[in-house]
């Protein structure tokens, strides 16, 4: 056997992937060839240093994340102009809705009532301001977008703060119907925003936030503590509340005097 042939098999040899016969051939050669033996040691050292991972990166994500993955792919395929829409949008949305909807029994926690009230107040307050504000004579589209972004981050902040503060007595379940509805509304708003011309950082944040909202939207109406912890973990891991606060104030500040702080092509 030539050195060259042995070298070609050294990696498989080191991983013990050769068949018995070849393994024997390589062993025989190595016994009498210092050069190839030294080469094997170098290769083994390289293999040892570049260790295959003990834990796969995909294992860093929750089961819920993977359950939603295919759904997110389909959303994106559709958004990127599916050449052949497989079914129309109404049916896809309906399908999603029925997929995640489960029968629920009632077990209200006190905090939920507060969140429901907050939700009602927020809907009552935010929607009118959207109509009144912001359409100034010098108004350019970028302001409109900033208003929408600020509004979107504001609503998301309220929702995520609510989720962070929910207390669930151990072993009990809480009704998240309202939160899930709010999350779905925000996902729609996020998709709409994603198609507008928003700057890269906002887009990045909108997308990161959307992942959390999807997890929330796909929860069962009745959630227990571990379910909620998954969403909370996402919020903490991404430092989401802080980032949303920064973003909300950034886009709010850019509104009143028509001097947007962002780079824009409109001026």
């Amino acid at each position: 056997m030539r050195h060259r042939d042995v070298w070609n098999m050294l990696y498989e040899f080191a991983r013990d992937e050769l068949d018995v016969e070849r393994k024997k051939q390589v062993e025989q050669h190595l016994a009498g060839c210092d050069r190839c033996f030294a080469e094997l040691q170098v290769l083994k050292e390289g293999m040892r240093l570049v260790r295959p991972r003990r834990r796969k990166p995909s294992q860093e994500h929750s089961e819920m994340y993977w359950r939603n993955f295919a759904f997110r792919v389909e959303q994106r395929a559709r958004a990127s102009g599916a050449r052949r829409p497989l079914r129309n949008r109404f049916w896809q949305d309906a399908e999603w809705f029925f997929l995640i909807r489960r029968p629920y029994t009632i077990a209200f926690a006190a905090s939920i009532t507060i969140i429901v009230m907050a939700g009602i107040l927020w809907y009552g307050r935010v929607l009118p301001t959207l109509k009144e504000s912001d359409i100034q004579p010098t108004g350019v589209p970028v302001q409109e977008v900033n208003q929408e972004l600020s509004d979107y981050f504001h609503k998301s902040k309220i929702l995520l703060v609510g989720i962070s503060n929910i207390s669930v007595p151990e072993g009990q379940r809480v009704d998240l119907t309202v939160e899930r509805q709010a999350a779905r509304a925000l996902i729609r708003q996020a998709r709409y925003l994603d198609q507008r011309q928003i700057d890269e950082r906002a887009q990045y944040l909108v997308r990161a936030l959307e992942k959390i909202l999807i997890e929330l939207a796909n929860m069962e109406d009745e959630a227990d503590l571990p379910d909620i912890e998954i969403v909370r973990a996402g919020i903490y891991q991404e430092n989401m509340l802080f980032r949303i606060r920064v973003a909300e104030s950034t886009y709010k500040e850019s509104l009143p005097n028509g001097v947007p702080q962002m780079k824009t092509n409109h001026q």
Binding site: Y11, L43, V50, P52, R55, P57, W66, R76, A82, L205
Partner: protein, 183 residues
Amino acid sequence: MSAVRERQLVLRSKEGDREAFRELVKFHMRQVYDLAYGFVNDHDDAEDVAQEVFVKVFHSIRSFRQEAEFSTWLYRIVTNTSLDRLKQRKRKMKRQVSLGESESMELATNPGPIENLDYSVHIERALHELPTLQRAVVILRHIDGLPTRTVSEILKCSEGTVKTHLHRGLKKMRTLLQDLYEE
């Protein structure tokens, strides 16, 4: 999943069956993610690449010829998309440095478990020192453990080339990492 089942799913996906496509995604998503992560070493990018890969598959599955292995075709798309992403990232980093941007919203990369941080950072750095093909071979063959033949099909080169690149790549990685560990 059996090869027969996969072929059926691919056929049905080609005809526009969404259930079948979904099943293909579910079966391959973790592997695609892990492979993409091997290249981009960042969870946000890995997710984005993995999704982009399946969107590409969705749009182009009709042009996929059944005589090839579906997974090989899929991994080829993963490899290309990941390498594109790395190129984009290089360009973007240059741009950001020149703009002098630093904002809390940019600090979103996810380093993974702390005990692996130093280790994976070193490997990542060393991997980036390798020429593209060598790097791809080290990731696919050594880190992801795909068979030599599959790697050669993914990268469209001979098995001999895969072996040579693997050998050279690991030796170079050894030199680079030894320097780091000895520091």
